[in-house]
Symmetry: C2
Subunit: 205 residues, 2 copies
């Protein structure tokens, strides 16, 4: 019997997953967590074979950080990421964090069940329409922005001017412009609007 821990901030989704998973008799849901923190604690106690984890977990730590923590457990559960959106950056982040795979929420229940079985068996699980994208992502990896650059990018996305960003971060405008120049180069854009767009598209922010 393969044991599963559910992690999702929506009670309704947890109920749905439980119903779907327990429809057969080869899988057993041994626990549910609404946050990443809760998931890490529960996984330590329950030692599930597979953790099915939403990528977005409301206010707390996200699915990727949760994955990292879960994979550090001993024994480490296989972590299967479940999400609504297919953002490139997040796919790669999840895989890099040690996730066994990645499923879109809008797939049929049986695909989820199959995915759990394959993850439990140590296989890699990728939603069909995502596999190609992940490989493409591998070939031309997403630009790696530094923490500071991400920070600037967030202010950018909130519509801040260079002057405002400078004030907020306690640096000069020259520094902000320098960061922006690097961001633009890495994202291969030439305007703040497009940088915002690309960042949102790829899930960088």
């Amino acid at each position: 019997m393969t044991t599963v821990l559910l992690v999702d901030d929506h009670p309704v989704v947890r109920s749905g997953l439980r119903a779907v998973i327990e429809a057969g008799d080869a899988l057993q849901v041994v626990g549910e967590a609404a946050t990443g923190e809760e998931a890490i604690i529960l996984a330590g106690h329950l030692r599930p074979d597979v953790v099915l984890c939403d990528l977005r977990l409301g206010s707390g730590i996200d699915g990727i950080r949760t994955t990292v923590a879960l994979r550090a457990l001993d024994p480490a559960p296989a972590v299967l990421i479940l999400t609504t959106f297919d953002r490139d950056a997040e796919v790669l982040g999840a895989i890099e964090a040690g996730a066994a795979g990645y499923l879109l929420k809008d797939v049929d229940p049986e695909v989820i069940v199959q995915g759990i079985h394959r993850a439990a068996a140590g296989d890699m699980v990728l939603a069909p329409d995502l596999a190609g994208r992940v490989l493409r992502g591998m070939r031309s990896p997403l630009p790696r922005l530094t923490d500071r650059e991400i920070e600037v990018l967030r202010h950018l996305a909130r519509g801040a001017t260079n002057k405002e960003i400078a004030r907020t971060l306690f640096v000069t405008e020259a520094t902000v412009k320098s960061h922006l120049a690097h961001i633009f180069t890495k994202l291969d854009v030439d305007s703040r609007s497009r940088a915002i767009h690309v960042a949102q598209e790829t899930g960088l922010i």
Copy 2:
């Protein structure tokens, strides 16, 4: 017995809602639809008392348009909108479209059940943390942008320059700037980045 039709593009969420709703014995799920189109057809046949409808329905028509069509049926079901995000514009849009209310997906199952009962009884149902916002929205209504302005706004959000927008819309840059000036005034901002931000925040785009 109150009958319910579920509308959500995610099978898992439908399963969860069904489990939650049928946990008691006062509600009965009489059907499920994955798209707005499907929902309208099914509602015509099944004549449910309440339709529980996700705001975002993937590729087809959205929850608001679906609501409009459902309310035009005879007898018209009460439509309860369910969603993840609390965008002001969408709240108002749903209410204006004749929805009986609005629930966030991350609430407890019993809140959803209660909401369905109240909607069936003809009451207005608003998630507590949304009610105030809706009323505020009523007091200071969202700026009304023209269709053309919304169009320009969309291009803006995709990071287009004035020149590019002008080319795409077959107008001169002067016209684009004119539209932008109006948009900026209506949204009370002074830069394209902030306009994009506000538009996304309020669900204008």
